[in-house]
Amino acid sequence: MSAEVAVTPAVPSGVQRAPVDTRLASLRAIYIIWYRDILRFWRDRWRLVASLTQPLLFLVVFGSGLSSSLQGSASFGAGRLSYIQFMYPGIIGMAILFSAIFGAMSIVWDREFGFLKEVLVAPIDRSAVAIGKALGGTTQAMIQGLILLVLAPFVGVKLSLLTVLTMIPLAAVMAFGLSSLGVALASSMKSMQGFQVVINFLMMPMFFLSGALFPLSGLPGWMAVLTRIDPASYGIDPLRRVVLSESGLPSAVIDKLGLTINGQVLPIPVEVGIMLAFGIVMLAIAVISFKRRD
């Protein structure tokens, strides 16, 4: 060791350290947990590209296939709206749903690889961990959904600047609600097996019942109930209304395609409110669950 090397004196035992402001500490922790997720998200570009293939497949194959057979159907405004145009906002919702759930599942991944331990032993409030994770998932899911806006010209959807600007907060709220759901599920999950269960028995049914692929009107009673329970329905409907408002369809037709409860059309702010409330409840469950485990 050379003489030049600075020797930092150790902090003697029992000496009072500058007290740490716990609220500030929580904010810092939320920020860095969020930032780590974003960093990993950008670093994993392959995933970003791969995540585009599934929506594309749905739009091109499923959408084109059904468009021709549903051409002129009364429920799609008697030919003024193609099925692919109807489906497009639903697929944006699908991307948000899938990536929100997958994003939150990184918690299970972190547990498997030991990193979660580093986070959980830190002298921070556990709620910061849940919030940071939920916000990280929200940001990723929002980006994954909104990136599909570049496909609009290919499916014959016109987007104005106002439409895009309106969709950003709508996508964010949906992403928040579903990411919080994912974090709540992942917080008490011990293994990757549970992850498969969530995908098969929760995420896929949520997608099929969300109104992403078909209008939620005129359904059999039991299915109508399930679609109204599905939180994703309340995220996709506002997106669709905003996109379709540009299509020149009469609003009566748009309302008919949308989400109703007891025959009442739900206004967008109510749907947003439901989604936001759902997200907050899920986040609260996630916080409790994180605080409980060792």
Binding site: T8, V20, A29, I33
Partner: protein, 328 residues
């Protein structure tokens, strides 16, 4: 610095019927390297987890850095650094990013964040690779990164649970050099567990733990003195006759381990010539050595540290880790 940094009194941890820790008392002074030595399942990890506030004891009290582990676990965690048995770094982030993450969640002031990260990278010789993703690191580099990370918030005690497990001997040596340098530069107290006897020799003081209890505590030399002189081992084609003659003629009772006779004598250099000269039974081989901590362990517990068993267990752990990086 001679003040007590770790103090445990009557620690007990029960899991239902199983008593993993059965009344542990210990004191560690500031600036010490304290080793917790024992076979797998002796209660080492349980004890270190209690001291780190990761487990609550069934009974007993402990203070770390002047703070009660039961009353203010967050306060303790802010003052200790942790290096877990299994890797806990994010392989997708770079080394520097892993350290930045830690600096944030441990509230390292922004003004010194960069400087401390640089200093720790330098100290653990990771500066060159700080910008590479951690998944490209070797096992030893990951360990060094975890040590750097544990030191970042300037803890008073660094806890390491089996820090050299699964590393090759050369890497183990370098980890030890780094720990010694950290102590010299930072005056930090180091508390570590190991089941490698040879490693325990680097510690200032050692507690030998077996079946949940401390069976001996002292410096490596003090512990070796408990064996009483030198260790002589010999083999003979007529072991029964040899045992009888040694007991009668030389006044020592040898113990038998797999056909080898082992005895502890005060002055080995004088004993060996007598052994060869006076024994009628054939003496095939003789060794003479200073006692090792292995001998201490055998003497105190009546059994070897079961290294072989530990070996297979570790191998399985390593395989498990390679598959899914999972603990337990």
């Amino acid at each position: 610095m001679a003040e007590t940094v770790i103090q445990a009194h009557g620690l007990v941890k029960r899991y239902g019927e199983l008593e993993a820790v059965r009344g542990i008392d210990l004191e560690v002074k500031g600036g010490e390297i304290f080793g917790f030595l024992g076979p797998n399942g002796a209660g080492k990890s349980t004890t270190i987890s209690i001291l780190c506030t990761l487990l609550t004891p069934t009974a007993g009290t402990a203070r770390v850095a002047g703070i009660d582990v039961m009353h203010d676990p967050a306060g303790v965690r802010q003052r200790i650094g942790l290096v877990f048995q299994d890797p806990s770094v994010d392989g997708e982030l770079t080394g520097r990013e892993n350290l930045e993450f830690h600096a944030f969640i441990y509230s390292v002031p922004a003004a010194v964040r960069r400087q401390r990260i640089d200093e720790m990278l330098e100290l653990l010789q990771l500066t060159d690779r700080a910008g590479s993703q951690v998944r490209t690191y070797s096992g030893g580099m990951k360990r060094r990164l975890e040590i750097a990370r544990g030191m970042l918030h300037e803890p008073e005690v660094l806890f390491l649970d089996e820090p050299t497990l699964g590393l090759d001997p050369q890497t183990r040596q370098s980890i030890w050099n780094h720990l010694n340098e950290l102590r010299a530069r930072k005056g930090i107290t180091i508390f570590m567990t190991t089941h490698y006897m040879d490693e325990a020799e680097y510690c200032d003081r050692i507690a030998i733990i077996d079946r949940g209890k401390i069976v001996a505590l002292g410096t490596p030399d003090q512990l070796k003195a408990m064996v009483g002189g030198d260790v002589v081992t010999m083999t003979s084609s007529q072991p029964d006759a040899a045992v009888r003659e040694i007991t009668e003629l030389l006044g020592v009772t040898p113990s038998r381990e797999n056909g080898t006779l082992r005895m502890e004598v005060a002055d080995g250099k004088a004993f060996v010539p007598r052994l060869v000269r006076e024994l009628m039974a054939p003496v095939d081989t003789v060794t003479l050595r200073r006692p090792s901590l292995d001998d201490v362990f055998v003497k105190l517990t009546g059994h070897a540290i079961r290294d072989e068993e530990a070996g297979t267990k570790d191998q399985m752990r390593m395989m498990g880790r390679a598959w899914m990086g999972r603990r337990r």
